[in-house]
Subunit: 311 residues, 2 copies
């Protein structure tokens, strides 16, 4: 929590995207920067109305609003925003069952990640910052196979069949939520490494004018486009946006300058920098694009807590 | 729901009392009169924070407020009163485990029965009518043995040991709630049938002036005290109250006259009378005292729905 925080209710971040879009990874990284004990993380999958077996019987996917307690998720977001605790339902991804609920107390920051977080106006009105994750589709499928086979007990064939079964609902209910995000984040492999799924991924941030984005001109003006690029563009729907591109192979020094710039813009949160650890780029799993994405989001959360996002 | 109902939020009845005080039986009877599809019944045992095994490990009884999600129960009562649904936790009495929550939509009438329903001011403020059940203690113990051995898999020795273990918390947390009730209801055996647990029980209603009670004088004036008696008295705390006594062996004609009088006082709800069935007193399990008690409470619920209890 920044010093001199002025907003005395939780600041709520929404992270919406299709299955295996990278929501959990991004949530964990942002929570680490803001401080684990100051963040409550809620996965909206916990609001599934039916377990895995009952979904199969009813021939309904987890992506369908009717398969989720949408009105209860709305209610819980509203209550948390009012600094009240909730008794959150629990969905167990390991075996697809519904379990006993758990008590969630409000924290200074709340991250709500899931499939249908922007489905209703009442939910959308609860967030301070709204992200939509839209990785390149081939990359998402590779991520989904890795995760569902590794952690959820599915076979490769089951994962591919599920993606096919869900395509209709993805199109009908998930993708339409993209339009409500302040920032659309797309990870994608570099041209010469189409199979890349990790640290060398590039990232594109589509920055909508619904949030005051940080002024990156001090970095952008300094030299050539070595891995970092900001450009006025049109979104897929024709609307004007800024597009920030960060390449996976960005030079370490340039990444550091962007990092330093962002921290300098939120001096109230300088003590949080210790949460990030040394930014040395030496580990094989170190991803500059992921780390900088997390920091950009954390920047917005801190600014919101300072009351500077009430534009 | 009475015709011309004027209150457009649920009317909430509280039924509080110790374990096996007769809460569930009374709840079922009142719900039957008001109409099953118009009543939502909530058992506050569902708000236990710990299952049976964890309570034993923590050496805490189910009667202790710390063993219950009191703040969530408060929140859910408030939400229901505001015509909003809740996702209610579930406690499975059969094996003492916590289960997946269930969706409860608001209904015209809500009955909330349990151990700690009047523990906080915020909860008490949610009810329209508040009952406290206080059967004679020997009778309660007989009821508890019957039920816990029959439905919850305990032995007789376990039930008696549990009563002893719980005595401290009963004294500390359950009995102090008596003072908040509008009506204190005590079933007790007739003098010559000390072992009676069913249809021949007498009942005493202590009527506090916190509700406008029905005018029973047309019945009381008519003849002798044949099983029905109303008297000004002092409660155990010295406060003035009316005490209504109905004997288990009340004459059938007199019970019918009381029944007719009560229905005549709520003509808006005359269509509900079909829910009660023929009041012929012929079945071996027919209890005039239980039936009249249920009707007196239903009377108050209908009056509250008509906006006539906002004294």
């Amino acid at each position: 929590m920044p010093k001199n925080r002025v907003v005395d209710r939780p600041i709520i971040l929404g992270i919406v995207g299709d299955s295996a879009a990278g929501k959990t990874t991004l949530t964990a990284g942002i929570a680490a920067i803001l401080g684990q004990d100051r963040v409550a993380c809620i996965c909206s999958d916990d609001y599934h109305r039916y377990g895995r077996k009952e979904r199969a019987e009813r021939k309904i996917t987890a992506l369908h609003p009717d398969c989720n307690y949408i009105d209860i998720l709305e209610q819980h977001l509203r209550l948390l925003r009012q600094n009240q605790p909730v008794l959150k339902p629990v969905y167990d991804h390991r075996d697809g069952s519904l379990a006993a609920p758990e008590y969630v107390a409000p924290k200074p920051y709340i991250i709500v990640e899931g499939l249908l977080g922007y489905h209703t106006r009442a939910m959308r009105d609860c967030y301070d910052v709204k992200l939509y994750l839209e990785p390149e589709e081939e990359l998402r499928i590779r991520w989904k196979i890795q995760r569902d086979m590794g952690k959820r007990g599915y076979t490769r064939e089951q994962v591919l069949a599920q993606i096919k079964d869900r395509e209709h609902d993805t199109q009908a209910f998930i993708r339409p939520q993209r339009t409500f995000a302040d920032i659309v984040i797309s990870f994608y492999p570099p041209e010469d490494h189409a199979e890349e799924t990790g640290s060398q991924l590039n990232v594109r941030h589509i920055l909508r004018p619904t949030l005051p984005h940080p002024d990156l001109s001090p970095i952008l003006d300094r030299g050539t486009n070595s891995g970092l690029h900001l450009e006025l563009s049109r979104d897929t729907d024709g609307k004007p946006v800024d597009v920030l591109e960060i390449r996976g192979d960005i030079a370490r020094g340039r990444a550091e300058r962007l990092e330093n710039l962002l921290w300098s813009l939120i001096p109230e949160a300088s003590h949080l920098r210790a949460n990030v650890g040394a930014f040395d780029g030496s580990g094989p799993q170190m991803s500059h694009t992921l780390a900088l994405t997390q920091l950009l989001i954390a920047y917005h959360m801190v600014k919101a807590a300072m009351g500077e996002h009430a534009i």
